[in-house]
């Protein structure tokens, strides 16, 4: 609930509430908090990398530590910052947008969060326990098989636990959208963000198991001396690359598709126009997701798969530019002739279009398998994927935070500070990464600890590092904005943006049951339809009755804790068999929690009709 409301309760009560909650809105806040902390951590690692590269042959950090930095920066940003922040936004907005009281499996939702959180903490503990993983965020075999120390083991255990949590989140959202849409909310009336959540969840569902297996194979090779990647015993390291990218390529669409949906909502809202080409947008999203599974080998052009395979994957890769182009033009056409309001949320969306288009263009360049031999593993690749991931995902997350902050916390983020954040970050971003295209074309390889003097790389790297400082400053201003808004921010009405979709039909922040009566949806942009016909709220789609709610539970936290302890045991059992106690103890504890969950009936509870009647009366006043 709102910050002001929670302040009245003691700190302990609030903490206990968040540790046991199964409410999608609170889990969304937890995801934002967890993902936000990891985002800052990953950003810190990025700044350290850039400081190391500020001058030629710098010795700010050692070569080994540099390898740990690049590995942890990539892993943290993708698995522990990007995806959780997206899951946070999905949790906060999607059930409201489709007119549901919660997700299908509230308990599983909480479990997914705690698994992510404990997995992320486990991975980051490696910094203090003998060194972080240092085989790159891809951790290719055979490098990762033979890397000494426990870094890669932390990578495996941490990602395995966090990945299981993400998978649960994905299944939960699919079931929610299939089963829990409000009366009249047909598929083709869903807001684009909900559509994107749906399709992204399908990607999560079909991509993550490949990673699970890949991490298992790597773990078996490292811990049990199996021979999957041991060439002497007939193993094959290319299997690792295939499995990794069968997961890894859909993963980049997992990171971007939700934001495509979000930008569609933002453009429509702040242009005060229906989204241009709604149907085309939906099908373009599906097409991108489908093609996303077909192109993984474009990460492996230089492996030597042969000209036929390379050509097929090259053509497939370039084909993705078509649905993406459809989207870009539809966004532009949405703004065309609209009453455009430019505020912070809209600024991020506007900044996204040129940035992402540049990233998409270099993507097509990289997709040309012949040219890729030149680009592969240079800073050109680094520039490309930062243009799409930062320019798409991070810009989108900032846009989404500004857009839904009033709904989540009941206060509007400060506009001036928001604009300062945007300009600092936007300028800093292009300073950092635009020049890296040219550094790459000049031959600067990625993942190298130092570069030599007088090879034409000095100035470019200096500019790039200065840009990183601008981005840091932008992020700090945003953090200040969060604190400022919590105390002095403007209190938000239910519908501060003159919104179009259902989340703006409930109060800010929404009541814990979301809707007293599920709304009746009569078309695309349901709230807008009602407003255009002179009503200020949705017509009810069901009679007023008792509302069924799930009980809070501490078990998800405990299950995550058990797996966390088991993960530590897994990592260290090779050193000392006493660690088997942690391994089996943690597992037994988690499985025990599962049995308790299965054996103890949990029917939930009912909110009595009278309480809802009272709430409705209050709203009417």
């Amino acid at each position: 609930m709102s910050l002001s409301a929670t302040e009245k309760r003691g700190f302990g009560a609030v903490l206990w509430d968040f540790l046991t909650t199964v409410d999608h809105k609170k889990i969304g806040i937890l995801y934002l908090l967890g993902g936000g902390i990891f985002f800052l951590l990953g950003g810190l690692e990025a700044v350290i990398i850039r400081i190391q590269l500020i001058t030629p042959e710098n010795d700010f950090i050692s070569a080994g530590l540099y390898n740990e930095m690049i590995t942890m920066h990539g892993t943290t940003m993708i698995f522990l910052a990007g995806m959780p922040l997206l899951l946070g936004l999905m949790n906060a907005a999607m059930p409201l947008q489709i007119g549901a009281r919660d997700v299908s499996f509230p308990f599983l939702n909480a479990l997914g969060f705690w698994l992510f959180m404990f997995g992320g903490i486990l991975l980051n503990l490696s910094w203090f326990l003998g060194g972080a993983p240092d085989a790159g965020w891809t951790s290719y075999a055979s490098l990762a098989v033979n890397t000494p120390g426990h870094g890669v083991d932390f990578y495996i255990a941490g990602l395995q636990i966090a990945g299981a949590g993400t998978l649960m989140g994905g299944i939960n959202f699919i079931a929610t959208i299939v089963n829990m849409r409000a009366p009249g909310m047909t598929y083709m009336r869903m807001p684009l963000f909900s559509w994107a959540t749906f399709i992204t969840s399908i990607l999560i569902l079909f991509a993550f198991p490949a990673l699970t297996i890949n991490l298992f194979l790597l773990m078996f090779d490292r811990m049990f001396d199996t021979a999957f990647f041991d060439v002497a015993l007939g193993g094959n390291t290319i299997i690792y690359q295939h499995l990794f990218w069968i997961f890894g390529h859909p993963e980049v669409y997992i990171l971007i598709l939700p934001l495509f949906g979000l930008f569609s909502d933002v453009f429509a809202t702040f242009s005060r126009k229906r989204l241009f080409g709604y149907t085309a947008m939906v099908f373009a999203t599906m097409l991108i997701a489908f093609l996303g599974f077909m192109v993984w080998a474009h990460h492996m052009f230089t492996v030597g798969l042969g000209p036929v395979a390379n050509s097929i994957f090259a053509v497939g890769t370039m084909a993705i530019a078509v649905p993406t182009g459809i989207k870009i033009f539809n966004w532009l056409a949405t703004m065309w002739g609209g009453q455009v309001t430019i505020n912070s949320a809209m600024l991020w969306a506007l900044g996204f279009i040129p940035t992402f288009t540049i990233g998409g263009m270099t993507g097509v360049m990289l997709g040309s398998s012949v040219a890729d031999y030149q680009f592969h593993d240079t800073y050109f690749v680094i520039a490309h994927f930062h243009y799409v991931i930062v320019g798409g995902t991070v810009f989108g997350i900032f846009s989404g935070l500004h857009y839904w902050w009033p709904k989540m916390f009941g206060r509007i983020l400060n506009e001036s500070l928001g604009k300062i954040t945007f300009w600092l970050f936007f300028i800093g971003f292009h300073l950092t990464f635009f020049i890296q295209h040219f550094l790459g074309l000049m031959g600067m390889p990625r993942r190298y600890w130092v570069f030599l003097e007088d090879q034409g790389l000095d100035l470019g790297n200096l500019i790039s590092t200065v840009g990183a400082f601008f981005m840091t400053a932008g992020t700090i201003v945003f953090l200040y904005n969060v604190v400022y808004t919590a105390f002095k921010g403007e209190v938000a009405s239910a519908d501060p943006w003159d919104g179009r979709t259902l989340e703006w039909a409930v109060s800010s922040p929404p009541p814990y049951y979301n809707f007293e009566q599920l709304p009746l949806v009569r078309g695309l942009d349901p709230l807008w339809i009602e407003k255009m016909e002179g009503r200020d709220k949705m017509a009810p789609g069901e009679p007023l009755d008792d509302v069924h709610m799930p009980n809070s539970s501490f078990l998800p936290f405990l299950m995550g804790l058990g797996f966390f302890i088991a993960g530590l045991g897994f990592i260290y059992q090779v050193d000392n068999s006493l660690w088997y106690i942690a391994l089996y103890g943690g597992m037994a504890f988690s499985i025990g929690c599962m049995i308790v969950r299965s054996v103890k009936d949990d029917h939930g509870y009912y909110i009595p009709k009278e309480e809802l009647e009272e709430a409705l009366k209050k709203e009417a006043e």
Binding site: S104, V178, M180, N214, A227, G234
Partner: protein, 207 residues
């Protein structure tokens, strides 16, 4: 601590597993989970197909596999799928006792399958020295068959928990979806076994 009378109607509906929103959610959720499991096994099958001839001088699939035992295992698991269908049939007729009986038979067949599998693995290890570490083929073989066996084990534990938990409670709208999702899962691991049987054992005999 909580009790919901709506879950215990006087007369159960004809499809008690899908009568509540919770039940429909569980039904949907499990189907999607199985979609993910499909990819999990697809990754293992891909790995196995890539490594099945990498014997590194050790025994090959043709020398190892005996189809008699595998045939017995296949029969047990396929029959257990049929018996779980019987159990669901009785659930829809609200006959709790017969449902428990057929679920029990399902579980016993699953245990029989597992015993055969353990025997098979022990046989390979002691008589052929064929282990998880002996070659890439060995690693891939134990990984795929072991993952399937792990799924069967999990299914049996799930079944036992369900049966013991509800032994005295009878059928209601709260536990009917749980039985139904178990049976879906059980069918899935049977389907996977059909592929394991074909791709690993039958194709392993063809040289």
């Amino acid at each position: 601590m909580s009790y919901d009378p709506a879950l215990f109607p006087e007369e159960l509906p004809s499809e008690p597993e899908k009568a509540t929103l919770e039940g429909q959610n569980k039904f949907m959720g499990l189907w999607f989970f199985l979609g993910g499991e499909t990819v999990l096994f697809a990754a293992l099958f891909g790995t196995y197909l890539a490594l099945k001839n990498s014997t590194a001088g050790g025994p090959s699939s043709d020398e190892l596999f005996g189809l008699e035992l595998v045939f017995l295992m296949t029969m047990m698991l396929l029959t257990s799928s049929l018996t779980s269908v019987y159990a669901m049939y009785h659930m829809r007729n609200h006959d709790f006792k017969k449902m428990q009986l057929w679920l029990g038979i399902t579980g016993l067949l699953g245990v029989g399958f597992l015993i055969c599998e353990v025997y098979e693995f022990a046989h390979y290890i002691t008589d052929y020295g064929f282990t998880f570490r002996s070659s890439a083929f060995g690693s891939a073989f134990y990984a795929i068959v072991g993952f399937h066996g792990g799924h069967v084990t999990f299914g049996i534990c799930w079944l036992i928990t369900l049966m013991v938990r509800n032994a005295k409670r009878g059928l209601n709208l709260y536990n009917a979806p749980k039985f139904n999702t178990f049976s879906l899962y059980w069918h899935f691991i049977d389907v996977i076994w059909v592929f394991v049987f074909t791709v690993v054992y039958l194709m392993g005999k063809v040289t």
